[in-house]
């Protein structure tokens, strides 16, 4: 069976489950008694799902690790108590490992087993205080199975048969159980060996179930009853044997109240494609309007109205597709409590996290990209900002340090503030460090105001970098945070009040347009061409043809000749005469193909396309701007318009 096509979905599903485990486990530590069971059930179900699906996908290592953690959660649940902090630590560590294993799987690598961690989980599950006495309501302990050699004579008419279960079966006891049930339909079972309890524990010695039924029955009739049970090879007559009485069946837990969720899961790739299409439609409808303008008034009349209507519809579509990528910020915010909890334990400082505005919606790509910056800001706040408990008490502050995540929507931006009530930024130290590192002349440092000085925190040398054992597993400094946020079209700023606390303020655009660009170098500049328009790229040497005739100004593409232009000339850049072959990018638009010559092809990159505002949007041939991963801003070209 080809499992590779289920990989994407398995990865997405499992990541969601693991996020659920993490959030619930952290909540469990401080949960009220009433919340305990639903939370534990939830964690158990998540781990159980991961176990089942990873086994199906063939990721044995993941299945085994989930199984071990399931055992620990089950033990805690059966003991009727909350998990102790070391157990929570263990489960969270397991979560991290599982996440890393899923990452491996998603990149085509086989996840390695974690036997040591499994051992620790299983040991914790078996630990003496893990299994506290079970709460009332569970069935009484089953009586032990009678030894196989004891015999009992039945005084009434009876039939004893031995049912053979195939040795191929992975679940022989359950198969035997099925057979037993079938036989039960015809007569009461006087005895069964192994007992029902033994079957429940998965034991079927010798793959043989011996059943004594009341009354006399023809062998063929009984054989017919079990004929439809898979993996049961048959039955045969057997001499009587004694068995233990069957135990009562346990009642399953009552269901939680229903909540129907009218949503559909859509692959993020599909949404990206829809988004790109919608973006293209917006550009195309804009060009349509331009094309209509030069028509004579009489012809234009109705056309104008229809084109405007089309533009409105397309803009509406674009907005809705953008909205489809929106996710509530709680998606990101729910990862934060765990970080705060870990920091609190590691730094030995009591900390609390408040989350406001989790319902604010943000583009999913932006929200995901915010996680690392937020974690870094939290680490800074916990480590450098918030004072030790006794120092806080001496200052008249509550012993528990408070970190607040607050989000709100403001027109077309989403503002997220991470505030702590610690000691604030030490501006003088920032300045001193900057001067020390030669990033700032001493005189300027003197004159610098607080707001400007705070921006120094974003300089590479000055930003704090985290060592490897942080929650996300990557060390980021404020400079990386700034770059990441700016690349997405957002801004970061710091605000601080000495002695009272500091705030990291993120401002993100509420929606984005993501485009895959082909980057080209030309005359020392870099430009982007949307990949959706690029037919192909090729090398051609037009310099030798003396510059005359169509052949000199076209390149062969798939058997046809495509008119070519030097992009530099089109953009008015200084043109160096080039000899020899150079790269040409063949672009398609409005049914026409054009080739543009560039200096070098630099590769592909996915960027956030930022639309131009007036008056730049009037410039023909410019689709917008973008900031590359390197931090470099570039123009994105609309080549068909450029050459039209």
């Amino acid at each position: 069976m080809d499992l590779s096509r289920y990989l994407g979905m398995f990865v997405a599903d499992t990541r969601e489950h693991l996020a659920g485990v993490e959030a619930d486990v952290v909540r469990l530590e401080t949960a009220a008694p009433a919340e305990r069971k639903p939370l534990l059930d939830g964690v158990f179900r998540h781990l159980h799902s991961v176990k089942g699906s990873s086994a199906t996908m063939g990721y044995d290592a993941i299945a085994k690790l989930s199984h071990a953690s399931e055992a620990l959660v089950g033990a805690v649940r059966d003991a009727g108590r909350l998990p102790a902090p070391p157990e929570v630590d263990l489960l969270l560590e397991t979560c991290d490992q599982l996440r890393s294993m899923v990452d491996d799987a998603s990149e085509g690598r086989s996840p390695a087993a974690r036997p040591a961690l499994q051992e620790r989980l299983l040991a914790a599950a078996k630990a003496k205080d893990a299994r506290a006495p079970a709460p009332a309501g569970t069935p009484a302990a089953p009586s032990p199975a009678a030894p196989a050699t004891a015999r009992r004579r039945f005084t009434e008419p009876h039939t004893t048969v031995a049912v053979r279960v195939s040795t191929r079966s992975a679940t022989p006891a359950a198969r035997a159980f099925l057979a037993l049930r079938r036989l039960e339909t015809v007569a009461p079972v006087l005895e069964a060996q192994p007992s029902l309890e033994a079957l429940r524990e998965g034991r079927l010695p010798g793959h043989l179930l011996v059943v004594t039924l009341k009354g006399e029955h023809a062998l063929e009739a009984l054989a017919k009853l079990i004929a439809r049970v898979p993996d049961v090879d048959g039955l045969e007559p057997f001499a009587d044997e004694a068995v233990a009485p069957a135990g009562p069946a346990a009642e399953p837990a009552p269901a939680a109240p229903a909540v129907h969720d009218p949503t559909v899961k859509v692959a993020v790739d599909l949404l990206d494609q829809l988004l790109e299409l919608a973006g293209e439609l917006v550009l195309a409808s804009g060009r349509l309007r331009e094309a209509v303008k030069p028509l004579p008034a009489g012809v234009r009349g109705e056309l104008d109205g229809e084109v405007d209507r089309l533009r409105l519809l397309v803009k509406d579509l674009n907005n809705r597709v953008l909205a489809a990528r929106q996710t509530p910020l709680s998606h990101v915010a729910e990862r934060l409590p765990r970080a705060v909890r870990d920091l609190s334990r590691r730094l030995d400082k009591p900390l609390e996290l408040l989350v406001e505005g989790g319902e604010v919606m943000l583009d999913r790509g932006l929200a995901d990209a915010l996680l690392d910056p937020l974690l870094h800001a939290i680490r800074n706040a916990a480590d450098h900002g918030i004072e030790q408990a006794d120092e806080r008490r001496a200052l008249g502050k509550p012993a528990t340090g408070r970190i607040v995540f607050a989000a709100r929507r403001e027109r077309d931006r989403v503002l997220i503030e991470l505030t702590d009530d610690g000691r604030g930024f030490d501006v003088e130290r920032l300045k001193a460090k900057a001067v020390e590192q030669g990033q700032l002349p001493a005189a300027e440092a003197q004159a610098m105001g607080v707001e400007q000085a705070l921006r120094l925190a974003f300089l590479p040398g000055l930003s704090t970098r985290d060592a490897s054992t942080d929650v996300s597993g990557r060390g980021v400094g404020m400079d990386a945070v700034l770059r990441a946020i700016e690349q997405l079209g957002g801004t970061v700023a710091l605000v601080s009040t000495p002695g009272r606390g500091s705030t990291v303020r993120f401002a993100m655009p509420a929606t984005i347009s993501v485009v895959n660009l082909l980057l080209v170098a030309l005359g020392g500049e870099v430009f982007g061409v949307p990949m959706s328009r690029v037919l192909c790229a090729l090398e051609a040497d037009l310099s030798a043809r003396g510059g005359e005739g169509y052949a000199a100004r076209s390149v062969p593409v798939n058997g046809e000749r495509v008119p070519s232009f030097a992009l530099g000339k089109l953009l008015g850049l200084p043109e160096h005469a080039t000899y020899g072959p150079r790269p040409y990018v063949v672009v398609e638009g409005e049914g026409l193909r054009t080739a543009v010559g560039v200096d070098r092809l630099l590769g592909q990159e996915e960027v956030v396309l930022r639309p131009l505002g007036p008056p730049l949007e009037r410039i023909r041939g410019l689709a917008g701007t973008a900031i590359l991963g390197s931090g470099r801003p570039i123009f994105v070209l609309d080549v068909p318009r450029l050459v039209a």
Partner: protein, 121 residues
């Protein structure tokens, strides 16, 4: 005529995989459900020839759902989908009225063989 199947599992990708196994085996998948509640509703709606039922699911377990479905229709054919090492749950399900069971990780031919046997083909 192709036998009609209702697939119940809380994981989308499991449902997809099971669906592919059945359509590949000549069955008609008439519906899917993601939890025990939906399972009971859709059983009523579609009256399939066969249901594949996951055991551990939110809102209502597969065992509960099986119990309710069998209470409504004693002839319902419910095949439980269990993870390895869950024999006692499987037996609970059987006591609740499940007809048979298949075990994850699924092997396509095994699943179809079991289902065909259970349906008496």
């Amino acid at each position: 005529m192709a036998k009609r199947v209702l697939i119940v599992d809380d994981a989308v990708f499991m449902r997809n995989m099971i669906r592919d196994i059945f359509t590949g085996g000549g069955f008609e998948v008439v519906g899917e459900a993601a939890n025990g509640l939906e399972a009971v509703e859709k059983y009523r709606e579609f009256k399939p020839d066969l249901i594949t039922m996951d055991i551990v699911m939110p809102f209502k377990s597969g065992i509960e759902a099986t119990r309710e479905i069998v209470a409504q229709d004693a002839n319902a054919v419910v095949v439980m989908c269990s993870a390895l090492g869950q024999e006692s749950l499987v037996m609970e399900a059987i006591e609740a009225g499940a007809t048979d069971f298949i075990v994850k990780p699924f092997k396509e031919d095994e699943v179809l063989a079991i289902v065909r046997k259970v349906l008496g083909e």
